[in-house]
């Protein structure tokens, strides 16, 4: 047997170490993805599926409910992501102040919602905004409203509350990333700026923001991806209602499989579209944000 060179032996070791991860990835991610794609080319009721080519994708273009839910999903994304990022940066900068006392407590409080189960937070929000809930009691008590307002029963306010809940929940999560980013900025840069006569505002715009750019890019991509997949809020807070007015795309995907007459092919096709959108948005952002070339 020919003796393998040192390099080859090292490569072998590498491959053996990588193999378990690759196998897991293939079994748990790649195969289901391919199967989902194949399923998206079939149609039928329940388990009686037949091959149908691209008909599920054509169906999406014609399906009014699909159009309505995708618009709602984009609304969630457009309103929640920027607010979340801007508030996250502001909070992170405030909580990064060297002079601030009890930082740990504030940080924990703001991060805590992200650790709460989505179902539990939906229940909290529903009772907050219920007809006899806290918000109505306060507003009526202060004389702002004459009678309680059915916040979750009106299409616009229901969507706004879903956006508020998303911001409440994910803000602390985003903030942690920005805090981590801020800790990586060398304090001497601020000192240098101070010596050069820059005020706090200027050093925020000239130092903090540019240095945080990779982090902003990363959190935006994550926030958009999670916004495209909004499901729990839509199911647990409003049940998509009234009508379909606050239903997210992922909730509709669920409904076409498990509430309506099941059509797994169509659900998979819509799932594929979500994947495609997330991939494109991520790709564009990576290209726009990456200035290394």
């Amino acid at each position: 047997m020919k003796k393998a060179s040192v390099k080859m032996r090292q490569n072998m070791t590498g491959w053996v170490f990588v193999t378990p991860a690759v196998v897991l990835l293939i079994v748990l991610s790649i195969i289901p993805l391919v199967k989902a794609f194949l399923l998206s080319l079939q149609t039928g009721r329940g388990s009686n599926l037949t091959w149908a080519g691209l008909s599920n994708y054509v169906r999406m273009l014609q399906d009014p409910t699909f159009k309505q839910t995708i618009i709602t999903t984009f609304e969630y994304m457009v309103f929640s992501v920027p607010i979340m990022i801007i508030l996250g940066i502001i909070l992170a900068v405030l909580l990064n102040d060297q002079m601030l006392k009890l930082k740990g407590i504030y940080r924990t409080c703001i991060f805590l919602p992200a650790a709460v189960s989505l179902v539990a937070s939906a229940v909290i929000f529903r009772s907050l905004f219920a007809m006899d809930g806290f918000v109505n009691t306060v507003l009526v008590g202060m004389g702002i409203l004459d009678t309680p307002y059915n916040f979750l029963g009106h299409p616009t306010s229901a969507r706004i509350i879903i956006i508020i809940m998303r911001i409440w929940r994910w803000l602390g999560y985003q903030m942690i990333f920005f805090l981590a980013g801020l800790q990586n900025i060398d304090a001497s840069m601020y000192e240098a700026a101070k010596i050069d006569g820059a005020n706090k505002w200027q050093s925020f715009w000239r130092i903090t923001l540019p240095m945080l750019k990779p982090m902003i890019l990363f959190t935006t991509v994550m926030a958009i991806n999670s916004a495209l997949q909004v499901y729990d809020e839509s199911v647990n807070l409003t049940n998509g209602g009234p009508g379909f007015s606050s239903m997210s795309l992922a909730h509709y995907v669920y409904n076409t499989s498990f509430v309506n007459v099941p059509n797994f092919g169509y659900s998979c096709a819509m799932g594929m579209l979500i994947l495609l959108m997330a991939a494109i948005i991520t790709f564009v952002q990576m290209k726009v944000g990456d200035k290394r070339e």
């Binding site: 053996v16 329940g46 029963g153 009508g243 007459v261």
Partner: protein
Amino acid sequence: MKKRILAMLLTGVMAATLLTGCGSSTDTVGTDTETETEEPAEGSGDDAVDAAAEGPQTLKVWCWDPTYNINALNVAADIYREEHPNFELDVEEIDSESISAKLATASTSGELDTLPDIILFDDTGFQKNVISYPEIFTDLTDYGFNYEEFSPGKVGMSSVDGRNYGIPFDSGTAIACYRTDILEQAGYTIDDFTDITWEDWIEKAKHVLDVTGCPLLNGLSCYNQITIMLQSAGGSFFNEDGTANLTDNAVLKKTIELYTEMVEAGVYTEETGWDTYIGGMNTGRIAGAMNGCWIMSSIRSAEDQSGKWQITNLPSLDGIEGATNYSSQGGSSWAITTSCENPELAVDFFKSTFGGSTALYDEILSTGAISTWLPASNGEKYTVPDEFFSEQPVFAMITAYSGNVPECYVGTYFQNAMMDVANAVTEIIYSGTDMDSALSAAQDTLTFEMSQQ
């Protein structure tokens, strides 16, 4: 060097275990499924009873609601065990939606052995599931079950093309419940709400709201309310041939018209969650409830309101042909799966309990589970006055109502139709769309959905 070889070996072993792990599990599944299909699921009449004594004596069940369905099952098992001491029930609590998800997984993966022997289904989803997953349901037509002793409307809910796939369980006969103490403040009694029309009801409800500040009804969006009103006049979302019928549907239009008026007048509150729906009636924020008679178990949970409630029939749709003061909502039926190794035992169990024991129905009556097995209403407890509902003989009343419920066509696409109509109603109420265009859009959506399967 030795260490490196050891590390490589260990990693290799790890990967190998992973792969073999997957392989062997697939193998087992394969053989199991094969045995399943070889077994013929046939049997009838007296042979069935003998056959039941042989195979396994434990039945596994999926259903929801411990105070209601599971309680009924356990009582039934106790009764059946008197003559069959080896009999065991293994009940797993799974909510209705998760059952749908599990069916989908089992059916698409072909692993039918993950299913239990018996599954409970909502009547409105029964036919949909039979059509979507035919391989899961045992055809019970030739098992000699006494279907003729059940109300025909109920048996129809779990039949497809004249074949029976379900064992009828509870009744969904609709009732209207009101807080008589709140009605009194507005100068009304329960009689003012009995045998009336919806127009009359809305006027009185507005008066109650003015005087007491309490809306008379609430509901989970419009879903149940619209169905109840529609079915009270024998209406449906579909024509008899199964095609969508939302635009030329006088009953539906009248229903939506009245419903819109109720919401806009503030006498009906749309809720988004089950908790706030039940909470409304339990806290006294809402002065009434209208739903299938199973709602009584939720009303009863506010024990401090005992003696303050009474029930009556529903308002009728004025000026609609075939309008009645009776309807139904909910109700469920049992199905026996094809992975049941001893279907004779399952059928025999149901035959001697849910289809043959007045003692069972007497026992579970307190939870509000009212029988669709006709002889059960002869049971003693059906005529006893109910303390919670101001000494009304509620069960006798509901049984009497159930005889008047018009038969309705439910259809496979009921759930789709319900969602599309709910969306139309939302647009009518909140976006000011006129009814004809909203309904014609809903009709297009529904027809589209039905054509795509």
